[in-house]
């Protein structure tokens, strides 16, 4: 029997993309409540402002499009909001309903899987809430103005489960993971408050103080 999380223990689903990108970035945002806006994050927010409208429903042919759908999974221990869910109902199909899920992103497809992971986590929530299976979803990117299909295969599902478990582990400890300074740090809006270079200096304080004391002995 899988562990089920209590409502109070649920973590923000949106954090899983930060977590997949950098555990420390997630820690700074979700454990330390630190956040820094830059051009990219503001653009991202504005984009979602346009997409977010829980009272807006649209029907195109046999597809019903709903926005800002609240989501939750007690097995993953996550809660959040899906940008768009497309519900396709074929009248001639004995009432079989097909759900797919769409996430809007400001930029363009990324080298890592953080967007896929977030989309899949949303799908897993919806699957659990409606007791259905969702096989694929879409990522829509503002820069390319194109939607990309993402298959929710076992590999991706397992990755989401592992990330969610580890998020809970670190959150319980209340520890912000140490920084791993590398190339991707340059693109991080939290670079200036993370100060990743600092994670290497923990043993330098003793030396620093000795230097201070040595200066005092010169006289």
């Amino acid at each position: 029997m899988e562990k089920l999380y209590e409502e109070d223990d649920l973590l923000a689903l949106s954090g899983i993309q930060h977590f997949a990108f950098c555990e420390r970035q997630w820690g700074l945002i979700h454990v330390e409540s630190q956040w820094v806006e830059n051009v990219k994050t503001v653009e991202g927010k504005n984009m979602h402002k346009r997409v977010d409208d829980p009272y807006f429903t649209e029907t195109r042919g046999d597809v019903k499009i709903v926005r800002s759908v609240p989501l939750m999974s007690k097995t993953l221990g996550l809660y959040g909001v899906a940008d768009v869910i497309e519900i396709q109902q074929h009248d001639d199909n004995f009432g079989i309903v097909n759900y797919s899920i769409v996430e809007y992103k400001r930029g363009k497809p990324k080298a890592d899987d953080r967007d896929q992971v977030q989309l899949c986590a949303q799908a897993l929530c919806l699957e659990e809430m409606l007791a259905i299976t969702i096989n694929y979803g879409y990522l829509f990117y503002g820069e390319t103005k194109h939607r990309y299909r993402v298959e929710f295969n076992n590999c991706l599902r397992t990755r989401v489960q592992e990330l969610a478990q580890r998020m809970h582990l670190l959150f319980e400890k209340g520890q912000t993971p140490p920084a791993v300074y590398n190339k991707k740090c340059k693109n991080c809006s939290l670079f200036d408050i993370c100060v990743p270079e600092l994670s290497k200096v923990n043993k330098r304080t003793q030396k620093y103080l000795s230097r201070v004391f040595d200066d005092m002995r010169i006289e």
Binding site: S33, Q34, G174, V201, N202, T205, L209, F213, D215, M216
Partner: protein, 343 residues
Amino acid sequence: MRKMLNVLYITNPEAYLAKDGENLVVRVQDEEIFRTPIHYLEGIVTFGYMGASPALLGMCVEKGVTVSFLTAHGKHQATVHGTPKGNVLLRRKQYRLADSESESAKLASMFIIGKIANCRTVLRRFMSDYGDKVQIEEVDRVSKIMARNVLRLGKELLLDEVRGIEGESAQMYFSVFDQLIICHKDHFFMKGRNRRPPLDNMNALLSFLYSLLLHETRSALETVGLDPYVGFLHRDRPGRTGLALDLMEEFRPYLVDRLALSLINRRQVTGDGFLKKESGGVIMKENVRKIVIEAWQKRKREEITHPFLEKKIYVGLLPYAQALLLARHLRGDLDRYPPFVWK
């Protein structure tokens, strides 16, 4: 390191602060006298009574801009800031250490090492710059005592012992401080620190600058998620920002004392900028306050190589850098807290 944005200081008691779109607008008697996009600012400090619209305060909270209201004399009245940053676990760690006498003594030693070492450097710099103009034997003697006191703080001490060393050093330092004032001796002198109220021009100038510095250390601590009220050297007292005062110690000589001295020695402020009230308390006139704030702003934009981080940062970011190092130490990422020691 974090970017340094501007702190806006408002000294005109008639000014009213309002919001217009994403801008801060300053009005005096319904006339707009200043306007800036809010994202250029990291803080607003106002002196004396004035108004600020709730819409402006709301925007400041949302954008992380701290707004501090001080009295005309620089005494803190209120600060508006948003939801506390950082996590409650970090603050609990801070409280736990503050509850422990021995842990508090360790941290207090670090702040005071920074303070005394920097006082000593103020004296030494003075001796090398002006040694020919003054009698320096006494200054030199005090500087040597300072060095000895820093070394004493390297040992494990009781909190009261740290306080004792701090008190003795401060007393010695201010006993020679008068020698560092080389002009307008009729108007500026140091016969000992007093602050409630300041009883002479020098003390009035120092107190005002210390209040600017306190604002900086306080918001730096809040930014990294520490509680500015719970200190290690300065124990809890209602309304007192103990940790902000702790962190301020190492900056007093470097940021304030030197600036006050150079304002006087370069004749940027003069005796007629101060007003002695009937009670003997001294207040600064508005034009001097403006000069002092301008000098302070200019100082903050200078660059310095941080002695521990070993990289160039703006002087104005020093309180933030030290607050960050303190938070890292409390979290266990750094084995000791490295105080800012200027050479």
